[in-house]
Amino acid sequence: MHKSSRSVAGSTMVLLIIKTIEMKKWEISVALITILLGTVLGYAWEEYHRKPADTKYLPEQEKIEAMTLVKEFTTDETTANRLYNDKVVSVKGTVLKIENNGDVRDIVLGNETSPQGVICEFQAKHKKEADKIRPGQQITVKGVCTGMLLDVVLVRCVLE
């Protein structure tokens, strides 16, 4: 009798331990799924609302003189598109013209003898630095290359 009550108590204890372990597993699973889901949703939210990067904080991928860049595009546009488009390009040249275009500034790098140059579009947040630039000045601009129409066009530009 004594032996059997002991064995019942022992079995109950074993069952309780198993249940506790099972509960903890379930809780751990819920916690892990919640953390995982939260991380995935957080990343998706962040990614969805990500703004185009400020070029100021992006490393340059190519470095070139303004008129050399123009020459590369006029010589072989397909190759130049492949080499420079979407890349952060650092371009050195002489300021030919400055145009106010609403909330952006277009700084044109080039020379008087060529009808083509490099248009560097400074967005509103970098307008102040663009406003200090003067025609004739030698500057280096970092921007994202988008291709060529009449001129090579760089957007999201900053002064280096």
Binding site: K51, P52, F73, T74, D86, P115, Q123, T146, L149, V153
Partner: protein, 184 residues
């Protein structure tokens, strides 16, 4: 590319002979809007090139697709990679003419409503388009504003089936150009 340069250079050279007839800009604004249940999308390109001959009414607008700026980076990436395929089709060009040029008095300040018809090439497809255009003449300067609606399927721009019912199939394009006389 060479064709665009040759055309514009020809117009520039011809323009110097008759400076007051031709107008030009390298900073035309083109904005597109797409309104849909999933998300509203708008993007701005401030470097469209345009030439306009006020005598014949001929007009041309060219733009780089990668120069469209979006508020969200992911939208810009999807636009370039999945929809417009800007690596493959880097430019969009409109060539047309003002149909009722006599309605516009370029010698007198004021606002004039006319229409423009022509061919729009985008994403490797060319379609006829007609749109109203408002000319504003102020002290010899000419501003042209136009708005047209584009059906994405006309230009074989495919929307992924997952979001097919949630993204607008129609895009509104607003063109706003401040022309300068070619001799300036």
């Amino acid at each position: 590319m060479k064709l665009i340069i040759s055309t514009v250079l020809f117009i520039v050279i011809a323009g110097t002979a008759f400076p007051q007839e031709k107008y030009f800009t390298k900073t035309g604004n083109v904005i597109f809007y797409s309104r849909a249940p999933l998300e509203d999308i708008d993007a701005n390109n401030k470097n469209a090139v345009s030439v306009f001959d006020k005598t014949t009414g001929q007009v041309e607008v060219s733009m780089l697709m990668k120069a469209f700026e979006f508020k969200k980076a992911l939208m810009q990436e999807h636009f370039n990679e999945n929809y417009i395929e800007s690596d493959k089709f880097p430019k969009s060009v409109f060539k047309g003419a003002i149909g009722d040029l006599s309605k516009v008095d370029f010698t007198k300040d004021g606002k004039y409503l006319a229409s423009v018809s022509g061919k729009l090439s985008m994403h490797g497809e060319t379609k006829d388009v007609t749109a109203p255009v408002t000319f504003t003449v102020n002290n010899g300067m000419i501003t042209a504003t136009s708005e047209l609606k584009i059906m994405l399927e006309d230009y074989k721009i495919l929307i992924p089936s997952l979001v097919k019912d949630k993204i607008s199939k129609e895009v509104r394009v607003v063109i706003d150009i401040n022309y300068e006389p070619l001799n300036h």
